[in-house]
């Protein structure tokens, strides 16, 4: 790792001030950023560790019934504390990485990084969650801008994520067993007025909504409605030694059908 200065603010305000330093980088749980820095694929003059900021940790429900999760909340906490309020999200959190990774990695870190195969972006987009920073609130529909790219500005910190809790939801993950990331995963969220389907792991542009499936499921929320669709276009899908684009496109359909079936 290249050398850097580590700053450990105890409050959000101190973190915002620390992030004003030149070439400052926020550090969430460090389960992606630290390995990347060790490989010298990333560096920073100042690393601002967010893990001591209690005010951005924890889970509550707001007046609109939305589940509000602090940006510094670990996957293990979501797995444990959302099991009743939003079981599909708890299940997603409990399948990220492994137990040790889940004790450090955070929802804010995952959403800020926007890995094209990360789990949380699928839940956030399928629920059109609101990503909250120190400056503003961003709808998930406007937040994910491509592989490792988001609407976040420099120095912006994810302080909270607000999920409208669906009537029914399921996250179906076809795991890549070496990395524990999804090869392809689909989050289906059914609301009283709409069905939303978000896909991760498949597209080289990162998480996306499968519009055809949403339209079909809005009229007929059943596995058969998905089975009647063509798989999404394989162009633009990730191709690697684990699976080519056509295989991933096929998996999108299969994972979506399984997710819908599991919602029933």
């Amino acid at each position: 790792m290249y050398d850097f200065e580590l700053v450990k603010p105890a409050s959000l305000q101190e973190a915002i001030e620390a992030m004003q330093a030149e070439d400052a980088q926020a550090l969430g749980g460090g389960q992606t950023l630290l390995p990347t820095m060790k490989a010298r694929l990333a560096m920073a003059d100042t690393l601002v560790a967010l893990s001591a900021i209690e005010e951005i940790k924890g889970i509550c429900t707001d007046d609109d019934g939305r589940l509000c999760i602090g940006g510094g909340t670990t996957h293990a906490m979501v797995q444990r504390d959302c099991a009743e309020s939003f079981p599909a999200l708890a299940s997603l959190a409990g399948r990220i990485g492994d137990p040790a990774v889940r004790n450090r990695g955070t929802i804010g870190g995952s959403l800020a990084n926007n890995d094209p195969s990360a789990c949380y972006p699928a839940a956030a987009l399928a629920c059109n969650a609101t990503i909250v920073t120190q400056n503003r609130e961003i709808a998930a529909d406007d937040y994910f801008l491509g592989m490792f790219t988001t609407a976040l500005e420099e120095r912006e910190i994810v302080t909270e994520v607000r999920f409208p809790v669906p009537e029914a939801a399921h996250y179906e993950k076809f795991i890549q067993p070496a990395s524990r990331f999804p090869l392809v995963a689909v989050f289906v969220a059914k609301y009283s007025d709409a069905v939303r389907v978000a896909v991760t792991g498949a597209s080289s542009d990162g998480v996306f909504r499968w519009n055809e499936a949403e339209a079909a499921l809005s009229g007929n929320f059943s596995e058969d409605a998905v089975k009647g669709l063509s798989a999404p276009d394989a162009d633009g899908m990730i191709s690697d030694l684990h699976g080519d684009g056509a295989y991933r496109a096929h998996l999108v359909k299969v994972m979506c059908a399984r997710a819908v079936k599991a919602c029933a």
Binding site: E5, K8, G30, L34, A52, D98, V101
Partner: protein
Amino acid sequence: MTKVTMIVNGKSRSAEAEGRTLLVDWLREGLRLTGTHVGCDTTQCGACIVHLNGEPVKACSVLAQEVDGAEVTTIEGIAGADGTLSAVQQAFQDYHGLQCGFCTPGMVMAATSLLRENPRPSEAEVRHYLEGNICRCTGYHNIVKAVMAASGQDVPAVAAE
């Protein structure tokens, strides 16, 4: 360099750390507690698992300064003061849950956490929990048997054997 102090295996211990010093290096180089191993250094293999404030973490992916003041248990803190092995350690010996032994500290730390959270896990739960620990010798079967035995359950022939 900054002086970092933690409660390690029940005792207050201090050593210097740079901002970039990893917890595992602080333990190994700073405190000479070399039982915690560095296998992959990329957050995958689990050989460096320690308990940080009671929870398992990969010590190669935590900065020492970040957790200044924490309570840490390493493999050196698992056996009794008189050297009596813990139930998990004894079961690893009894069921030949190790060959070269390199992954063993992380396996024991992870298995100890599992049994604290879930005292009577199923075989599938053991395998699921140990997904972040890689062993290149045993093929895992004897490790799974050891964890089942340490939980006080019968040790059946494992499913994939």
